[in-house]
């Protein structure tokens, strides 16, 4: 039965890398407006899954259905325009550009103006440029980054860089936001800010899929969790259910034993 408020369906996704099975028959349904956690020991395939969802990798089998349409095979920028935005495990901001420019790139990519209009600075081009500016200002102000707007993104403190990356992803007006270990390397204070940002974005209606290792973060933010181990989905449930789930505990402990 297809739930009416399923916004994204990951169906039978498989991915191999030169014989190594990274993902095997993964099936996950993401509900509209939820905050979903995806957890699992190292190497369980979480980032690979994100890469497939954002169009960076092609799966060997299966499909990803966004609003009923299969996005497998589409270019990452097309997938972004369809509504999926993401951040990366190793921060990938545009470090040699200013914070403002980082946001403006994302805002502007939604509807680029033609080359000649830009060069001739037609009314339409100027109007669009102003709109980009205004929207960027709104986004940066709401995240308290407006004062830093002309600083180079690479010069920001680590925690703020992560927030910037999330802001940039948000600027593309997504329906789904994939966050890949946004809390990695953050201190307590920064994590508090992160929680506030994620919660705010979710309240605005954005569905969030969160890969995280920090269990506190996961427990606090997510409503449902999917657990991967060695490329397979081994459990799904509420944070409470998952923390008591025998299979999940074994998966994590098992990895510790062999490590």
């Amino acid at each position: 039965m297809i739930k009416i408020n399923t916004i994204l369906e990951i169906k039978e996704i498989c991915k191999n890398f030169a014989g190594l099975k990274a993902l095997t028959n993964v099936n996950i349904k993401i509900e509209r407006r939820e905050i979903r956690g995806i957890i699992g020991p190292n190497g369980s395939g979480k980032t690979t899954l994100f890469n497939i969802m954002s169009g960076i990798y092609l799966p060997n089998g299966g499909g990803i259905y966004l609003n009923k349409g299969n996005i497998v095979g589409l270019r990452p920028d097309v997938i972004n325009k369809r509504g999926i935005a993401r951040t990366f495990q190793n921060i990938k901001i545009f470090s040699k550009m200013t914070i403002l420019e980082n946001i403006m790139v994302a805002v502007g990519s939604k509807q680029p103006v033609s080359f000649f209009s830009t060069i001739l600075q037609t009314k339409k081009a100027n109007k669009w440029e102003n709109e980009i500016m205004q929207e960027s200002e709104t986004i940066l102000t709401s995240l308290k980054l407006w004062d830093y707007r002309n600083s180079l993104a690479g010069s920001l403190p680590y925690g703020k860089q992560r927030i910037l990356e999330i802001a940039r992803a948000w600027s593309t007006n997504p329906t789904i936001l994939l966050l890949d270990e946004p809390g990695a390397g953050m201190n307590r204070q920064e994590k508090k800010e992160l929680i506030a940002v994620i919660t705010t974005l979710n309240k605005k209606g954005i569905t969030i899929v969160l890969v995280e290792h920090d269990m506190k973060l996961v427990m606090e933010l997510t409503q449902q969790i999917s657990v991967l181990d060695s490329g397979e989905l081994i459990a799904e449930g509420t944070p409470r259910e998952i923390s008591n789930n025998q299979k999940v505990i074994e998966a994590y402990l098992g990895k510790e034993k062999t490590a």
Partner: protein, 330 residues
């Protein structure tokens, strides 16, 4: 806004200065040098858009310089087209080849990209040398007519200066507009992190193509100017060594910097001239300067100039934080 008006006045003064330049520098020899600098600046600006903004290495750009020079020259010599048509055709043809080159380059990175551009340069060079019917081969094309507008023939350095100036200002305008627009920002995002840019909705292929086409078009303009200025071209000017020289120009001046493009052109043209008396050591000093700049001034010479305004307290004047128009991003 006051800042806007000041910026405008500075720009106007700058342009007036450039217009008056030949009257200030009367020596024909130095005006000739300035002409060459002008031609190279346009070339350099174009290359910076591809390499500096979009982050795509091109080690075969001499090919575009040559394609446009030959196109312009042949149209003028064989078909007696007026200069204006020749230069326009040169720009279009060069841009077209830029488009062609962009296709294989879209998926390539790093050394693969570099080698492909080198290959393109080499293939074109071979065409220049071997297609004797069209290009006269190694002997080159002589008798390329100087531009003629009405009764005025632009066959001396001073007159020609104004043609070059016009083209330079046009190129500068386009470069500045690209720099401060969504196109420029998207290009730079590709340079900084291609994968991230793509997931932010940036159409990588489109902007890489634009980069190649525009830089080829700029080279197209310079090539034509070059041909009709020197009235002679030969394949010797369009070798791999020259492609390297172009890269050196933007490196010395500052990769991705618009003023840097001009600075680089100035340095690359001046040094051989200043060191004329030291013919033997000329190139060694040149190589040494390049190495030193790379090690100690990685952002090029424009780095120095960027620091001067702040030292003179002019920062507030030049910082256009809220406005878009007039934002000359150095």
């Amino acid at each position: 806004m006051n800042t806007n008006r000041t910026m405008l006045s500075i720009k106007v003064i700058f342009i007036l200065f450039l217009i008056a330049l030949p009257l200030i520098v009367r020596d024909q020899y130095w005006i000739h040098i300035i002409d060459i600098i002008g031609i190279y600046s346009i070339l350099s600006l174009g290359l910076n858009i591809l390499v500096g903004f979009t982050g795509q290495l091109s080690l075969g750009h001499a090919a575009f310089f040559g394609i446009s020079a030959y196109t312009s020259a042949i149209l003028a010599i064989r078909l007696h087209f007026p200069f204006l048509i020749c230069i326009l055709a040169a720009v279009v043809v060069s841009a077209f080849f830029g488009l062609i080159l962009s296709y294989p380059c879209l998926r390539l990175k790093g050394i693969y990209l570099a080698i492909t551009t080198i290959g393109f340069g080499q293939i074109m060079y071979t065409v220049f040398v071997e297609w004797r019917g069209l290009t006269h081969g190694p002997m080159g094309l002589t008798g390329i007519p100087s531009p003629k507008i009405g009764n005025i023939v632009f066959d001396n350095s001073t007159y020609y200066y104004y043609i070059i100036l016009l083209c330079f200002l046009l190129a500068l305008l386009v470069a500045l507009r690209i720099n401060n627009s969504h196109i420029g920002r998207s290009m730079k995002s590709i340079r900084d992190d291609e994968m991230a840019a793509e997931t932010c909705g940036v159409d990588i292929a489109r902007y890489k193509m634009i980069g190649f086409v525009i830089s080829a078009a700029f080279a197209g303009m310079s090539g034509s100017l070059y041909a009709h200025y020197l009235n002679f071209i030969s394949p010797d000017s369009f070798t791999f060594d020259f492609s390297t020289q172009m890269l050196i120009m933007i490196l010395i001046g500052g990769v991705g910097s618009i003023p840097g493009s001009v600075i680089g052109a100035i340095v690359v043209t001046f040094i051989p001239e200043i060191l004329r008396d030291f013919k033997m050591y000329q190139m060694v000093i040149y190589g040494a300067i390049l190495v030193l700049i790379l090690i100690f001034l990685p952002d090029g010479l424009s780095q120095i100039f960027r620091n001067i305004p702040s030292k003179l307290g002019l920062n507030k004047l030049l910082k256009n934080t809220n406005t878009l128009a007039g934002k000359d991003n150095s």
